[in-house]
Amino acid sequence: MTTIAFIVQQTMIFSIPLLIVAMGGMYSERSGVINIGLDGGMIMGAFTGTLFINMMQGNISGQGLFILALLVAGLTGFIFTALHAFASINLKANQVISGTAMNMFAPAFAVFAARLVFGTQQVPFRDTFFIRKVPLLGDIPIIGSLFFRNAYISTYIGFLIFFVAWFIIQRTPFGLRLRACGEHPGAADTVGIDVQRMRWAGTLISGFLAGIGGLAFVVPTSTESNATVYGYGFLALAVMIFGQWRSPKILGAAFFFGLMKTIASAYSAIPGIKTLPIPATVYKMIPYIATLIVLIFMSKRSQAPAAEGIPYEKTGR
């Protein structure tokens, strides 16, 4: 039981940031803008978030500080992604190139700014956010030890974000309009939807979520941020594609990736797997192999938004 609880708790650490960022990516892509700058957004969010914690930790601590820092991280991603939105929507630049530029800019900026402020590349922070046991909920048999012990509040925020984001894109007029702009912007335009504005909204939401995801990734796994999220922004893109741009599938994909990551690094603690003659590298490969397989089988009926990556020209319709 403790082993299972441990695996679940550890899986959360990997899955939640992937889930948040992949949902962000979904918003951007379903509005018609490819955002491969998610990795950069995560780095920026992690950087300002930890910087905020570092500066405020003398005054406040605990969950309040973490939530504020997540907001700061989200806002950073929001502002940062505005560059990408401007380039790809208003200037109609190539979205892949713009996104790549963001990914190259973010770590360089984080290193530069951190050295200015601290003199070192790393931004250290004190972790006062770890929850050993959620009061009351942590005492529920089975579920308590699986989900309400040894956790971070970002786990619950991540689930909240998922359900809210799912509801908004699937059940609100705003969501419908946003999706229309990603499928057939010309049609959306004829019924009076401002395509540019919807695409701005989708891209900015993706930036906001990428920033949050960046901090939610760094806090549970390190004692400092170091201008990198180890390519988890790209992994989130893979999760989004694996999840075929649909919320429930993205949820499943994020947990599948997280579980495989956990097994790959913590296999020595899992009885049964430990004694199997399979090298750990196999588990590391599984998420990627699975993505490839899904892409091969799905390529015929891929559910990618039809108009993603194509700048919208009014005259072209």
Binding site: Q10, F86, P220, T223, Y230, A266, S268, I270
Partner: protein
């Protein structure tokens, strides 16, 4: 269109502001972080980092501190260079850059420089090279060292030995060793750690199998979530203390230890300030050795053309007692074992056997009480 222009202008302004802010801060920059150059931008003493950075709180930082200490005390110009990538070509490029930048002394921490230094040592006979953790060779490990080069090696097995010895005396029974990559220095730390734990267990009269050590090389020197997860899984299984022996890997292990209420042993430099979980650090005195080597050039007592191994007899290998968080292991205990080490009473197996062949697996080390669980 108008809105677009205003927006572009605002963005441009933002960029300029951040650059101005950067310049404003530049003057107050700490010498320790930036180095010091003369009016032509030249620096006499140069350090070239390997895969880490000068604030990796470990290997590169220790060497850099040695450079800083000497240069400030003797008013020399100094600077560091960071290669663009981990390759011989990039390293050689940085060396050329440093020499063009006026370097007369080049400090290169890391065995990764063995090849690059071997390539350039005869091209620049007037430049002194101080190579830490290695010596130049053609790739066959047969020393080929020019007179302007010194290779500095450490008896890391002694530091590792002391760490293992102290951990067992402190009362820990389930230990872990998490190395970065299986490079000679890391391997020596690890093998020493096993033997120190074994000897302490013998002194305490423990039975065979009473001490269990999980042993692995994670394959990188990064602070990554994978490393954190791996350490967390060990702690979950009951490991009480992990010797985190691989640069930034320590950061991940400390995070896992904080969550699991477990302990960590740091490496290379005293890492007590990194986390409350660090009970001690297995150190090698990088700062002193770099400082001494540079000093020998200026006071003309330079003895190049060879590789030296620095050990406990001159205080180059040790564990941190000053900032240790031990409860049972006392300074007197440490002094006693250290005296034995200095006197040469303890025979520690290194990463190679008598014939010079490499010992590849930790399970090949002769241990009486400690059982090693080699995790690959």
């Amino acid at each position: 269109m108008n809105r677009k222009k205003i927006f572009a202008l605002l963005l441009a302004l933002l960029m300029m502001l951040s650059v101005v802010a950067a310049c404003g801060n530049g003057e107050t920059d700490d010498l320790h972080k930036e180095g010091k150059v003369d009016k032509d931008g030249k620096a006499e003493i140069a350090l070239i980092t390997d895969v880490g950075t000068i604030d990796d709180k470990s290997f590169n930082q220790g060497s850099w501190e040695g450079v800083v200490q000497y240069a400030i005390e003797n008013d020399k110009t100094f600077k560091y260079y960071q290669p663009t990538e981990k390759s011989d070509a990039a390293y050689i490029n940085s060396i050329n850059l440093a020499i063009e930048g006026g370097a007369k002394i080049i400090v290169t921490p890391g065995f990764l420089f063995e090849g690059p230094i071997h390539t350039v040592q005869d091209q620049f006979p007037e430049v002194y090279f101080i190579l830490i953790d290695g010596y130049p060779h053609k790739g066959d490990y047969v020393p080929d060292i020019s007179d302007n080069v010194i290779g500095i090696l450490y008896a890391e097995e002694e530091s590792g030995y002391l760490a293992g010895y102290a951990a067992v005396h402190e009362g820990y029974r389930d230990l872990g060793f998490m190395g970065g990559m299986a490079v000679p220095a890391v391997v020596r730390f690890g093998y020493g750690f096993l033997q120190g734990a074994d000897d302490a267990a013998a002194e305490l009269g423990l039975a065979a199998g009473d001490i269990n050590v999980k042993y692995t090389y994670v394959g990188n020197f990064d602070a990554s979530p994978e490393n954190e997860s791996k350490a967390a899984s060990w702690f979950q299984e009951g490991t009480e203390v992990i010797f985190a022996c691989g640069g930034s890997v320590g950061t991940s292990v400390m995070k896992a230890a904080e969550k699991a209420d477990a302990k960590v042993i740091g490496v290379d430099v005293d890492q007590y300030a990194e986390s409350e979980t660090v009970i001690t650090s297995a150190m090698k005195n990088l700062k002193k050795s770099v400082n001494d080597a540079i000093a020998s050039i200026y006071d003309e007592s330079w003895e190049g053309g060879k590789a030296v191994t620095l050990d406990a007899t001159e205080g180059y290998t040790m564990i941190s007692m000053e900032n240790a968080r031990f409860e049972k292991f006392k300074q007197a205990d440490y002094d006693a074992i250290y005296a034995k080490l200095v006197a040469g009473d303890i025979d520690i197996t290194k990463d190679t056997d008598e014939s010079g062949a490499q010992i590849l697996e930790p399970t090949e080390i002769e241990l009486d009480i400690v059982t090693v669980e080699n995790i690959k």
